[in-house]
């Protein structure tokens, strides 16, 4: 291999917090080669971002850095802040997770872009503006002149991130560090950004360090992958090697806990990693994964671990490479057996419409949709942000007033807000929210949080009786009874979500709405929460979920039925297996093809959605998807609302595509 452009040698970073010092990075060694995309993956708290900012020598004042970062023959850690100005943004650029907070909202985009070149390359403002324009053209942004005159809030999130990338490239840096650049974006936007990254390497000879918590993205973009855990690199290898021959127990566990290759809840339970990440103390010399590792033994793991090269270019920190238990064998899923029980409707939604008033126009978040949820089934709702999936949930829950339509639960009309609903309906329809840090009151203990609904809705007045129920519930969700007096601030994200689930199941509900219940959690925790939800359903056998998610693997894993939404409309509905295999609605096809597959080869057909997303203010005619649809057949799509086309008894799409085209579709998932 050629000479590395960046060498990180024994990089350690220690943060001095008020009470204890935390070792965020411990002796990290890694090289970055020219024209390479190096993926760094790990759960939150693994030191990924510390590594990114450490390379820029840009960490807080309470960070103690040691080691060396060699770049162009110089050690960046020896440089003063003033000297580093020459490197930051100029030779090494960084792109952050949230483009909206990285851009100055009060400056026009053109000015922000030009500033970079004026500062670093001492260009005249006019020339810098010209360069900005060229940069936008080379990044394939439509209509660059008008973009340069706009403010950040006037363009979409994906566009903003592309502007940030353009800004990073203004000085043609040799290294681009991307810290979760697509985490705040939708999947169809994400693929566009990923394409862009691949092109950057070819076009500008940039080397990229790509940081993400998402193994799927990392596996689709990177040449080499470093898996980080608690401030150390656990494993480092070429992409294909890493996925076909993972060595470190953490890598294996991480790969295994994601629902992949269309695996569903009927086929297998997801693997989980017990425990959670704790802060590392500098005196701790044992393997960082020791506490959660199922292969841990007493001696070897404490002092006899460390990076070793097992094959050319494949490094791993675990000495137990001999463990040949290869659970990561890519097991092909069996054909799914659909349950034989009768489908009994529980919830009927007819012509539901929700309009939000905005200044001059209206925003139709949910546009005349009808569906029904059956007993003892999981009903998945999928769509990108703004498609109306959460609004639908809030209407069913009675937290939003509807503007039309009817919601019927067990034959009773419940088209009213929570104030007017009967205690019984309130009790039976429950909700698990996205972020347990926000859905649990930080002021109260677990006992009070779970106890209150039991008292209010189940009418159990005695504290002792309630305590018994609470302890039983805690055991059910996998928490010990010691948690009963804890406050949520003392818990990890996964533990909090378990408490939130316990609160919901305390009421023995019949319908639970789960609004992105795992997207604020790490993958290993996500697996545990999904397993728990499935177990609780199987145990009670009389419970339905409405499961809202943007993660198609997760929806495929847990759902019996799936509804795909786009801009307030239903695109496709059917049994999960039917929706996830052809024929598809073109939007479903695009979504599925955008999902990065962990360790899988390249996708057969890659669909990129271009065009802008219109605002659903009632002026869109025809099919809502026509502005971006890659399979648009003509004027009819713009003029006429697509009819409901029944493909099977349970599967329908809203599309104008003729049958013969639908039949020719190939599988993309």
């Amino acid at each position: 291999m050629n000479k590395p452009i960046l060498e990180i040698r024994d990089l350690s970073v220690e943060y001095n917090a008020s009470e204890e010092s935390v070792l965020a990075l411990n002796k990290v060694n890694i090289n970055l080669y020219p024209r390479e995309i190096l993926g760094i993956v790990g759960e939150s708290g693994c030191g990924k971002s510390t590594l990114a900012y450490g390379v820029m020598n840009y960490l807080g004042k309470n960070a103690l850095i040691s080691g060396a970062i060699n770049f162009g023959g110089e050690n960046l850690l020896d440089k003063s802040d003033r000297e580093m100005d020459h490197f930051r943004g100029n030779k090494i650029a960084i792109i952050n997770q949230n483009p909206f907070t990285s851009l100055n909202p009060s400056l026009k985009l053109g000015k922000q872009l030009a500033e970079v070149a004026v500062f670093h390359r001492k260009m005249k403002y006019k020339d810098a503006m010209e360069l900005s324009r060229d940069m936008l053209i080379s990044l394939n942004l439509p209509d660059p002149d008008s973009i340069l005159r706009r403010y950040p809030h006037e363009i979409s999130g994906g566009m903003q991130q592309r502007i940030c990338i353009a800004m990073g490239l203004m000085c043609q840096p040799s290294i681009l560090i991307m810290d979760e650049p697509t985490t705040a974006l939708d999947v169809t936007t994400e693929v566009v950004i990923l394409d862009l990254c691949r092109n950057l390497v070819k076009q500008f000879d940039t080397a990229i360090i790509y940081i993400s918590h998402d193994l799927g993205i990392i596996s689709s973009i990177s040449d080499r992958i470093a898996v980080m855990y608690r401030g150390e690199i656990a494993e480092l290898a070429e992409k294909d090697e890493l996925f076909s021959n993972p060595q470190h127990p953490y890598t294996k566990a991480l790969i295994n806990c994601i629902p992949r290759h269309g695996v569903t809840k009927d086929q297998k339970k997801l693997a989980t990693i017990p425990g959670y990440i704790t802060n590392r103390n500098k005196h701790d010399e044992s393997c960082p994964f020791l506490e959660r590792c199922k292969y841990s033994s007493s001696e070897g793991c404490i002092n006899n671990y460390g990076m070793q090269e097992i094959i050319q270019g494949h490094w791993t920190a675990c000495s137990k490479v001999s463990i040949a238990e290869n659970e990561v064998i890519l097991d092909k899923p069996e054909p799914r057996i659909i349950g034989k029980q009768d489908e009994v409707p529980l919830l009927n939604v007819e012509n539901l419409t929700k309009i939000f008033p905005s200044r001059s126009k209206k925003y139709i978040a949910v546009d005349d949709i009808s569906f029904h949820v059956n007993r003892n089934r999981v009903f998945g709702i999928v769509g990108e942000s703004g498609c109306g999936k959460s609004t639908t949930a809030l209407c069913i829950e009675g937290l939003l007033e509807t503007n039309g339509g009817r919601i019927e639960y067990k034959g009773e009309d419940i088209t009213k807000t929570w104030q007017k609903r009967s205690g019984n309906v309130l009790k039976e329809i429950q909700m698990v929210f996205q972020d347990p840090a926000r859905s649990l009151n930080p002021f109260y203990t677990v006992e009070q949080i779970i106890g209150r609904p039991i008292k209010v809705l189940r009418g159990i007045k005695s504290k002792i009786d309630r305590r018994k129920i609470i302890i039983e519930l805690l055991h059910k969700v996998g928490l010990s009874e010691q948690y009963i007096n804890k406050k949520t601030s003392q818990m990890s994200g996964g533990e909090r979500q378990r408490v939130a689930i316990a609160r919901v199941f305390a009421l023995k509900p019949d319908l639970v709405i789960c609004d992105e219940p795992t997207s604020a959690l790490d993958v290993s925790v996500q697996a545990a929460v999904l397993n728990l939800l499935v177990e609780l359903q199987q145990e009670t056998d009389e419970i339905s979920y409405i499961f809202i998610s943007h993660d198609l693997h997760v929806v495929n894993y847990i759902s019996d039925f799936v509804m795909i939404m786009y801009l307030g409309k239903i695109c496709e509905f059917g049994r999960t297996a039917e929706v996830f295999s052809p024929p598809y609605h073109p939007y479903t096809e695009a979504l599925l093809s955008a999902v990065p597959e962990v360790g899988g080869g390249s996708k057969k057909s890659l669909i990129r959605l271009e065009g802008s997303v219109p605002v659903p203010d009632g002026t869109i005619t025809g099919c809502h998807f026509h502005t971006r649809c890659p399979r648009k057949i003509g004027n009819i799509c713009e003029r006429e609302i697509p009819p409901k086309v029944n493909l099977t008894d349970t599967h329908y799409i809203h599309c104008h595509l003729p049958n013969e085209k639908l039949e020719k579709m190939e599988s993309v998932f």
């Binding site: 829950e397 009675g398 309130l426 909700m431 002021f443």
Partner: protein, 270 residues
């Protein structure tokens, strides 16, 4: 509370406040005079062993008057701060929680009150109420301060109102009152307490200013502001008669403000 988090300023604040509370309760035991007793032989006497802080024009012992004055100023300002906080929570919470038109109407009315200088507003209200007792003075100051505490209470509520635990409370059918006071208020109390403490300091100033203007507490109650005003004509010949109440006012305001700072650091900036 960890000791390391207590600042020097905070300690000074606590000491000053403790000093004045002690003086208000036990101070009268330390002096042989009452606050109205006139020693006609020793008018405008300089501080000495018999009169620690000297005497005023009428030969009254200044130390005794300060001590008795501390009782009214502490009572009025602490009660007024608490009462205005209470009113502020009621007003601010209903505005913020219900939002929309309710919010607009209530808050614009508060803005109108806020647009008038506190002192002028207080003078008007005192004028309407005719005659000032400790009770009316407390009420006046509470009303004047309510728009300010209401704003703080409202914004404290708004930071928590949209969190999902509020939705969770709604979908188990809790009442608005429960949600406001049992779900949101415990979390939102930090800035409200800080504001309440700061309001004590402002109350001390307002009480003294009204006293100075002669529309505060009426004689014979020895109000600190009134003492400054009574003795301002002898500021050259007997400066202690003015200095003593002035320093008393200043120290109490500073002490309470330092305490408010400490509380803010503990409750909010953590």
């Amino acid at each position: 509370m960890k000791l390391s988090k207590i600042t020097i300023g905070g300690i000074i604040g606590i000491v000053i406040l403790a000093f004045w509370i002690f003086m208000a309760i036990f101070g009268s035991m330390l002096t042989p005079y009452t606050h109205v007793e006139m020693d006609l032989v020793q008018k405008m006497a300089a501080p000495s062993a018999s009169h620690i802080l000297g005497t005023d024009q009428l030969g009254r012992d200044i130390f005794s008057r300060i001590i008795i004055g501390s009782r009214s100023v502490l009572t009025v300002s602490v009660t007024a701060a608490l009462f205005s906080t209470f009113l502020g929570i009621l007003v601010g919470f209903s505005a913020g929680y219900f939002g929309g038109k309710t919010d607009e109407i209530i808050m614009r009315f508060m803005d109108i009150l806020l647009s008038m200088p506190a002192l002028v507003l207080a003078m008007v209200v005192v004028g309407i109420m005719e005659g000032t007792s400790i009770l009316t003075l407390t009420l006046v100051i509470s009303i004047v301060f309510t728009p300010r505490t209401a704003r703080v209470a409202r914004s404290a509520l708004l930071t928590w109102k949209d969190l999902e635990f509020v939705d969770a409370a709604k979908i188990r059918g809790e009442s608005h009152l429960y949600i406001m006071f049992m779900e949101i208020m415990p979390n939102a109390l930090g800035p409200i307490i800080v504001e309440a403490t700061a309001r004590i300091a402002y109350s001390v100033m307002t009480v003294s200013a009204l006293g100075f203007l002669g529309i505060g507490l009426q004689p014979p109650t020895p109000d600190w502001g009134m003492m400054v005003s009574e003795n301002k004509s002898i500021i050259i010949s007997a400066p202690w008669a003015v200095l003593a109440p002035t320093i008393a006012i200043a120290s109490l305001v500073i002490g309470v403000s330092l305490l408010a700072d400490l509380i803010q650091r503990r409750l909010i900036n953590e």
